[in-house]
Amino acid sequence: MALGSLNDLYRDKVILDHCRNPRNSAVLDLPDVSCEAINPFCGDEIRFQINLDDSDRVREVGFQGEGCAINQAAGSIVSEALNGLTLTDVLDLSKKFSRIMEASLPKDVVVADKEAINLGELSALYKVREFPVRVKCALLVWSALDSGISTLA
C-alpha cells in the first residue's frame, strides 16, 4: 500500500547487506587513529579506529555505531572503502562525498549524478539524497573521520 511508492532506499541490496551484516565491527586496540561523532539531533553515534601500514595507508578499520539504518550502512560501507587510502585520500574522499551529497544548484547536481556512479558501494548512499533530512545520517561517518584526522595534523 502506502509504502509501495517508497523510493527503493531501504530495498537497495548494498544497503540491506551492510545493515544486516555490518563489516569491521570489532574494536581495534591502540589504533593509529581513533575518532567519533555524534549527531545530537537524533542521538546517532559513530566510532572509528584506523591502523596504518608502513606506507601510511589504511590497513585495518574498526567501526561501531548506533542509530538509524542509513548511519549504520554508511559506517559499514565506509569502513571498507577506506582500505589502502592515505589519510589525505580519506579527507579528499570525505570532501568529494559531502559535495556530491549536498549539491543543490542544478548544474552541480548533474555533475554529482555522474560522480556518484564511480564511488563503488558508496554509490548506494547517493539515494539518501532523495530524503534531504536524512543526508546528515549519511554524512556523520565523514565528520567523525574529518575531525579524527585533522586533530592528528
Partner: protein, 413 residues
C-alpha cells in the same frame, strides 16, 4: 459538542498533501498549525495598522498600541493572571525561562542553595539552571521518576527543603506526556519558602490553566504551540515578584529616564520589554486565544483525552509487535502525546517511512536528552495530538507504524 470537521476547515494546511497522501499532522508538541483567523490577523495588522507602539501620537501608532495591549489582556484573562501587567511578552517559553534565570535567580539564588527540577524537563527548563547553579555554586536536585515516568513524591520532603530557592517543573512533559501534580508541588515549594515555576509550554495550549489557582510564582509558555504565530511567548509572574526583579534586556522603551550616566526603569510590563516588540505576533496570539476560548479549553481537554484513550488502546496492536510505550498508561496522568520505541526500526527510519505516508511525527530526543537516554534509547518516536486530529487519523498512524515495522523487518533487518 465539538465539531472537529468545522475546526479542521479553519486550518488551511490540513488540506495539504504530503508525498501523495493527505497530511496527518501529529507533531503538535513541536508546534501547532494556525487557523485562518490567526493568519488573517497578521494580514489585517500589516495591511491596516502597522506602526510602532507606545511612542507615537499618530493614529496608526495609537491603534497598534491598543491592539497590542488588548492581546496582553486576552492572554492574562486566558490564564487568569488578573493584572495584564503580569504578562510579559517574550519570543518563546525558552526566553521566558531564561528571563527568570537571569533576572530573578541571578539575584536570589545563593551558594549552597538548591533548585529542584524533575528528570523530564525540556532542555529549556534544565540548561539555564545548570548554568545558573554552576555560576552560583548552588545545586540541582531531581525528583525521581517511577518506571512509568510518573514523579515519585515519596521522598519529597528531603528533596524540597529549606535551602530550596526554586522548584521548577514542567506541567506536561513533551517527551512522555506525563501531567505533573503542579498544585501539590507548588504548595510544597511554598511551604519551604521556595518560589515555584511552571513550564506550561505543553499544558497551556491543551487544558484549563489557572495561575491563580495553582498560585505559581512564574509560568512560561509559547504562542506557537497554541495556534499562535512563531516568535511570541509569555512569562507570567506574580506582580510583586516582577517588581522586585531587575530588568533583563535593556534599552528602547523599558526605561523611565536615561542620562548619559544611568537609567531608571519603566513600570511593568515594559520594564521587561526592551526594543520594538513583536507587535503583529502578539496581536495574532490574542486572536489564537480568542479561537481557543471559542472552542473552550475544557472541551479541548476532554476531546484530546478521549482521542488519547483511543490511541492508547489502538497502540496495543503495536505493542503486540514488540512496540514499547513510554509514559503513564493511565489517561488521567497524561496528555495527548504518544512517545514510543519500535523494535528493529530506528525512530528516524520510522519517521521517514511514515512521512512517505503523509504522517508527520517527531523522532529524536525531543529536547529531553537525559530523560530519553535514561529510557535506554537514543531517540523515541512521538505522535502528539491537537484538537483538530481525529480518530481516523489515529487509525492511519497505527496502521502506518505497523506497516513500517513489517516493511523494515522484511527488508533491512
Amino acid at each position: 459538542m465539538l465539531d472537529v470537521q468545522k475546526i479542521r476547515n479553519d486550518f488551511p494546511i490540513l488540506g495539504r498533501e504530503v508525498n501523495g497522501h493527505p497530511l496527518v499532522y501529529m507533531d503538535n508538541a513541536a508546534t501547532t498549525q494556525k487557523p485562518r483567523q490567526v493568519i488573517q490577523a497578521l494580514v489585517d495588522y500589516y495591511e491596516n495598522f502597522n506602526a510602532n507602539v507606545h511612542r507615537g501620537v499618530h493614529t496608526l501608532s495609537m491603534e497598534a498600541t491598543d491592539m497590542y495591549e488588548d492581546a496582553r489582556k486576552k492572554v492574562a484573562k486566558f490564564i487568569n493572571a488578573g493584572d495584564p501587567d503580569t504578562v510579559i511578552w517574550t519570543r518563546n517559553a525558552s526566553e521566558s525561562l531564561n528571563l527568570v534565570a537571569y533576572s530573578w535567580a541571578r539575584e536570589n539564588v545563593e551558594s549552597g542553595e538548591n533548585i529542584v527540577l524533575t528528570p523530564m524537563e525540556h532542555h529549556s527548563n534544565l540548561v539555564p539552571w545548570q548554568e545558573l547553579t554552576r555560576e552560583k555554586n548552588a545545586a540541582i536536585r531531581y525528583i525521581p521518576l517511577d518506571n512509568e515516568g510518573v514523579l515519585d513524591l515519596s521522598d519529597i520532603d528531603s528533596i524540597i527543603d529549606d535551602r530550596t530557592a526554586l522548584v521548577s517543573v514542567v506541567h506536561m512533559s513533551n517527551a512522555l506526556g506525563t501531567v505533573n501534580p503542579i498544585k501539590k508541588l507548588c504548595d510544597l515549594a511554598h511551604a519551604r519558602g521556595a518560589k515555584f515555576l511552571v513550564d506550561g509550554a505543553q499544558s497551556v495550549p491543551h487544558m484549563v490553566v489557572d495561575v491563580k489557582e495553582i498560585d505559581c510564582d512564574f509560568m512560561a509558555f509559547s504562542g506557537h504551540k497554541m495556534m499562535g504565530p512563531t516568535g511570541i511567548g509569555c512569562l507570567y509572574a506574580k506582580k510583586d515578584v516582577l517588581e522586585g526583579m531587575k530588568p533583563f534586556l535593556t534599552g528602547g522603551e523599558m526605561v523611565l529616564e536615561v542620562s548619559y550616566e544611568k537609567a531608571s526603569w519603566a513600570d511593568l510590563p515594559m520594564k521587561f520589554e526592551a526594543g520594538t516588540p513583536n507587535i503583529a505576533d502578539a496581536i495574532a496570539l490574542g486572536v489564537a486565544v480568542d479561537y481557543l476560548e471559542d472552542i473552550g479549553m475544557a472541551n479541548i481537554d476532554e476531546y484530546e483525552r478521549d482521542l488519547t484513550g483511543y490511541a492508547l488502546n489502538k497502540f496495543i496492536d503495536v505493542e503486540e509487535e514488540g512496540g514499547k510505550l513510554f509514559g503513564p498508561r493511565n489517561p488521567d496522568q497524561r496528555g495527548g502525546i504518544i512517545s514510543f520505541d519500535t523494535p528493529d526500526i530506528h525512530p528516524h527510519d520510522l519517521g521517514t517511512l511514515l512521512d512517505q505516508m503523509g504522517i508527520a511525527v517527531r523522532t529524536g530526543h525531543h529536547c529531553a536528552m537525559p530523560l530519553v537516554r535514561s529510557l535506554g534509547v537514543a531517540a523515541t518516536s512521538r505522535a502528539s495530538f491537537y484538537v483538530y486530529n481525529t480518530k481516523k487519523e489515529v487509525d492511519v498512524l497505527i496502521e502506518g507504524i505497523l506497516e513500517a515495522m513489517r516493511y523494515f523487518r522484511d527488508g533491512v533487518r
